[in-house]
Amino acid sequence: MYQQFKTRAEGVSAEVYRFKTKAAARAHVIEFLHAEGLADEPDSFALWADCPFLDGMDLGALKGIAGLKFEVTCELASTARFGISQMEWALADTGSLAQNSTAIEQRLVSSLSTIHIALVPTSGILPDMPALLSRVHPKECAYLAMITGPSRTADIERVLTIGVHGPERLIIVFVDDLGGTD
C-alpha cells in the first residue's frame, strides 16, 4: 500500500519520504529545513504543532535549533514558512492524508504555512476513504481533514497552479516506528 500511496501522492505533486526510525525522520526534517533556508530570514521559521512524534524526544535540543518554534498561534502560523504536524492516516488509493484536526493548532500549521511537512506513521496507511470513515466517527472527531497534495487552482485559463491559499509544497515523511493511531 505504501508504494501505491507514494505513486498517487507524487501524482498530485506531493513529495514522499520514508524512514525506519523517528531519529532518522527527525534528522531528515532538520536537514530539509536547513536546506530550504530555515532561519535565514525573519519569516523563514518553522512552526511545529504538538504531536505524538515529539513524545519522548529531546525537546530541549529541538528548541535549541534556530528558527524552530513550538508555540502555535494564528499570528505566527500566518507568516510561517514551514508548518510541521503529524497526520494520523494516509489513503493509498488517492494519495491523501487524514487527521483529526479538531485542535486548531493542527489546522493552522497545515493551512497557513508555505511548506507543510506531514509526519505519518507508516502503520496509518489505509486502503481508501471507506476504511477511514469506518475508523473515525464524527462523535470523536469534530473536524476531520483530508489533504491531497498541495493547494492548487486552475481558475485562470485552466492552467494548473500550485499554492493558492494553502501550502505550495506538501512534504510527507513516513515513519515506521511511530506506532499506530488505532
Binding site: 498517487r8 498530485v12 498561534t73 494564528c74 500566518s78 488509493d93 488517492t94 494519495g95 491523501s96 484536526s101 479538531t102 485542535a103 486548531i104 489546522r107 493552522l108 493551512s111 497557513l112 481508501d128 476513504m129 471507506p130 477511514l132 470513515l133 469506518s134 466517527h137 464524527p138 462523535k139 472527531c141 469534530a142 473536524y143 476531520l144 481533514a145 483530508m146 489533504i147 491531497t148 497534495g149 498541495p150 493547494s151 492548487r152 487552482t153 486552475a154 481558475d155 485562470i156 485559463e157 485552466r158 492552467v159 497552479t161 500550485i162 499554492g163 493558492v164 491559499h165 494553502g166 501550502p167
Partner: protein
Amino acid sequence: MGTEFKDSITKAVNNANLTGALGKFSEAYKVNRAKAYEGIDFEELRGRIADLKSYAASHLEELSEQFTQNAEACGATVFRTNDPAKVREYILKVAQDNNVKTVVKSKSMATEEIHLNPYLEKAGIEVGETDLGEWIIQLAGQTPSHMVMPAIHMTKEEVSDLFSKEVNERLTSDIPRLVKVAREQLRPSFLAADMGISGGNIAVAETGSIVLMTNEGNARLVTSLPKIHIALVGIEKLIEKYADVATILKALPRSATAQLLTSYVSIITGPTPNPDGSMKDLHIILMDNHRSEMAADPKFKQALQCIRCASCLNVCPIFRLVGGHVFGKVYTGGIGTILTAWFDELKKSEDIQGLCIQCGACKDVCPGKIDIPDLIMEIRRRLVQDQGLPLLQKAIYSVVNNRKLFHGMLRAASIAGKPFTTGKFVRHLPLFLADLTDGRSLPAIAAEPFRDRFKKIKQPKLKEKAAFYAGCLIDFAYPEMGESLIKILNKGGIEVIFPEDQTCCGAPPRYNGAYEVAASNAVDNIKALLREDVTYVVSACPTCTVALDHEFISTFESLGQTEWLPQAKILAGKTIDLSTLVTKLVNEGRLTLKEGRKLGAITYHDSCHLKRTLKVSEQPRELLKKAGYELTEMFECDTCCGMGGSYSMKLPEISAPILQRKLRNIKETGAPVVAMDCPGCVMQIRGGMDQDVADIQVRHTVEVLAEQLE
C-alpha cells in the same frame, strides 16, 4: 426565443476567448475524466449514488429533522427555511448581533442562488469571495460562467488588468504570479474576517456533519479563522448515512475536475475551537427554496440526485460554445436549466431550455444518473401546455399531423425546389425547411419519393417479413437509402413491406414540446405498422427508431394516455435499427459480405440517438470492417453533428460551429469516406462537406454495405 437572448448567444459564440478556453477544456476533460475513472465500475458507482440520493429525496423532511437534531446535539445552531428572503435575514441578523464588519466566503452556489452578497453589502457588511475564480468575477462585477470554474471565460490578461487595479501596480499576465498576488491580497481578509460563510457539498443526517471540498484551501480558512461560521446548504445535499460520504466523494472530484480527490476535504461536525481558544459559533442553514416541491414531482424528483459536479456542462457541445452567461446568473448548463425552472420559475427557463439539442452526452456521464435531456423535454412539454405553441410551429404541426397534406406538400416541394437544384443540393427549400442557414447545403426533395419507388422494386417472395419504417428523410430526400436497405434484407432472406399509411415519427413536435401532436403521430404509425404480421419493424433512421422503440410509449405515459400503450409496447418489441439487424443476419450466417477486399480507410460518425439511446456503436463499425474497410477513428466520433432536427433551423448560430468542428475532425482522419447510420446526420454533414468543397464522401452505412454483398 427573444432577441435579447439571441443576441447573448451571438455574442458568446463570437467570443474567441470563451469558446477557446471552453473548447480546450472540454477536449481535455473527456480524456482526463476517463483516466480518473480507470478501474472503477462507473455504472455500479452511479447506481449507488442514484439510490442513496433518491432515498434522501424521498425523505427530505425526516432527514432534515434528523440532521437538525444531531447537529444541534453537537452544539451547532440549525435554521430551516423554505424562503430565500428568510435566509438572507437570518444571516444578516447573526452578523449584526455579533457586530460583524467583514465576511469571507468560500464558494457556494446556494448563496449565489439567493443573491446574498449584494444584500449583505447593502447593509454595510464587506463580503469577500475567496475562491480565486469567484474573487476574479467579484472584482470584475460579473457572475459565474461555470458552476465549478466560475471565471473560465476570462483570459489571464483580463485577470492581470483586474489585479493590477486592485494592488495599484502594473502586473504581467504570468499566471503563477497572479495566483501569488491573490494569496497575498486575500490572506489579510481571512485573518481579519469576523464571519466565514460556506456552502456544503454534503450534509449527513445521521451525524449532523457537513462536508466541504476545495482545491485552494480557502474553505479550511473560512471554517477555521473567523469566530462565526455559517454554512448555507440546500436540502438536496442531505444524505442519510455517514459512510455514504465516501461514495459521493468517489465520484464528485472525478466527474467535476477529473481529480481522484480535491486537495482538501473537511468533514465538520459541530463547533471546533477558534484560534483564540473560544468555541466556534456554528450556524447551519438548511434551505428548501422549492426543493421539496421538486421532490414531490414524480418526473423531477430525480433532479435532486445531482451532486453538483457540472460534468453535464463539461461534455455539452452547446455549453462549450456559449458558456454559462447565456444561461443566466446562477445555475448553468443542462442541470442548470432544470434548476432554474424550479428554483426560479418555469417561465425563466423558456429560452434556455431551447439550447438543448438532445444529444444525450450529459446523461451518459451524470454520476447521479439523471436523465437530463428527458427532464428538459418535460420542461418543454409543460411550457407548451402552459403557453401553447408559437403560431408558425402550430401551422407546421397541423400539416405534419395530416399525413396526406404533409406528403402532398413534400411532393409539391420536389417540383418547386427544382429550379434551385445544383447537383444533389438545393440552396432553398420551401415549407418548414425554409430559411436554413449558410454553411450547409440541403438535399433536394426527391423527384420520386421512396413510397413511389417501392412499388417498382421486385422482391423475391420470402417467408420472413419486415416492415420498413422510412421516416421523412429517407422517404422524401434519400429514397436510395431505402432501396439499399431492401437489397440487403432480401439477400438476408427477409422480404420488406412498406406500410403506406406510415407518417412522421413525431420526433419534431415532441422535441418542441408538442406532445399531443406526437401522440397522434404515434397512433397513426402504430396502426400502420402493426397491420400486417411481421418479425421486425426496421428503420435506418436512429431518431425514428428511438421514437418507435421508446418515445411512443413515453409520450403516451407523459400525457396519461393508456389506450394505445399495449400496442406501442408490441411495436417497440419488433423495432430494430438497420445495423443491429444486419449484424444479426451476418452472425446467423444468413448474409455474407464480400471477403478479402481492401477498400481503404473509412471513418465513422456516431449518431446521438443510435449510440446513446439505442446503445449501438460497435455493430456498424464491425460491419464496415468486415466489408473490407480500414476504420480510422475521428476525434470526438460520438459528439453531435449539430443537426438535431429543427434545432439547426432555430439556432443556426450554434448548429453551424458544431458542424464545422465535426467536419474538421472528419477531414483530419484523412479517410475519403465517412459513414453514419442516420439520414439526418448525412443531411447535415454531406451539406457541410458540399459547402466546404471537400472531397469526402458522406454516406449512410446502408449504402456502403449494399455495395459489398456477396
